[in-house]
């Protein structure tokens, strides 16, 4: 199908095209809801049955890093929405700016995630043969990024959790499986999102998006906001299970 200007050949009007693209992206997001929903179900059931192991796993996560990432993503949703606004109101110079800010915030998120993942590997918190929830407590010298006071608190928490759940080490792996599975899938979606943002940035610098036609900005925006929503749920589910001890 050939294109005349922005209009693709199978469509009759730009409005029909925009309508179709928007509906298509929303339907795609519904598939993403069901996709993440499956792993949420696995998380929900395992968390209920092994609450103490999940709580303990959650307590090894850094609230500072997770909280910062949450704010970073929320801010990126704001900049993305502002980007769409720029395109809709014809503010040609602002659009690349907001897209760049969104990309930057995305990279900050990746950076923080990388630090978190690296910590997990370091502290033997990756499911598998070498998984050991008590690794840092038993080897403080190997985990020098945790202060002695924090280690003591962690030691107490582990002792409490073990009392409630004798197979703590085994079942904590279920928590970390959910952790890596959920955040890994989320990160993958963000990588795709950032890729799409770069593509938009390229187009915006060429002046392709106008108030008459800015559909790609609009629908990538929808996708980006969805990725933010997933994190809005992941944050309390993974980081805030049982912080009140």
């Amino acid at each position: 199908m050939h294109r005349t200007g922005a209009l693709y050949g199978q469509f009759k009007t730009l409005e029909q095209q925009k309508d179709s693209a928007s509906l298509g992206m929303w339907i795609f997001l519904v598939t993403e809801v069901m996709f993440f929903g499956g792993i949420m179900l696995a998380y929900a059931i395992n968390r209920h049955v092994y609450y103490h192991a999940f709580a303990m796993g959650s307590n090894t996560l850094s609230l500072k890093l997770g909280g910062t990432n949450t704010i970073v993503l929320l801010a990126s949703s704001f900049t993305m929405a502002m980007g769409v606004w720029s395109a809709q109101t014809g503010k040609r110079k602002l659009l690349p700016l907001f897209l760049s800010l969104t990309i930057l915030l995305g990279f900050i998120f990746f950076g923080i995630k990388y630090v978190e993942y690296a910590q997990k590997f370091h502290h033997h918190l990756v499911p598998g043969a070498s998984f050991d929830i008590s690794y840092c407590v038993n080897n403080p010298s190997k985990c020098d990024d945790i202060s002695p006071e924090e280690l003591e608190i962690e030691g107490n928490l582990i002792a409490q959790a073990k009392a409630a759940e004798p197979n703590l080490n085994s079942h904590a792996q279920l928590y970390f499986s959910s952790y890596f599975g959920m955040t890994g899938l989320h990160a993958l979606h963000m990588v795709i999102g950032v890729g799409l943002l770069f593509w938009l940035l390229h187009g915006s610098l060429k002046g392709r998006f106008t108030p008459e036609w800015n559909t790609p900005v609009d629908i990538v925006g929808l996708y980006w906001h969805f990725v933010d929503i997933v994190w809005i749920y992941l944050f309390p589910l993974l980081y805030l299970i049982d912080r009140h001890k």
Binding site: Q16, M34, H48, G67, F78, S170, L240, R243
Partner: protein, 121 residues
Amino acid sequence: MSHEPEHSYTEHIVAPHVYLAIILTLVALTAITVWAAFIDLGRFNIVVALVIATTKASLVVLYFMHAKYSHRRTQLVIVAGIFWLALLLFMTLSDYISRIDYRGVRFPMTQNVDTRPVLRG
């Protein structure tokens, strides 16, 4: 009607100050959810956390994603998606929570005891 959208639809452009208000609300709700996590509400911690998360998600959907200003059809798609997720979660959970003690076999979901054999420590 044939190929035209359900009603004549002029795009509603949301003003930046609305977006600003929303993002500030979202940050505030994030702070609240962290603060609430430190309070021992027992079973209700998860409820509070999910309610706040859902509020945040709703704000993003309604305002950032323009759902408030979209076609009926779009809103129906959103509701259908959420409904189907609820279906998946609640109908599966209905199996787990309604299992009963039968001939001495106890189910962890209702009796909070883990009786599965452990093959590896």
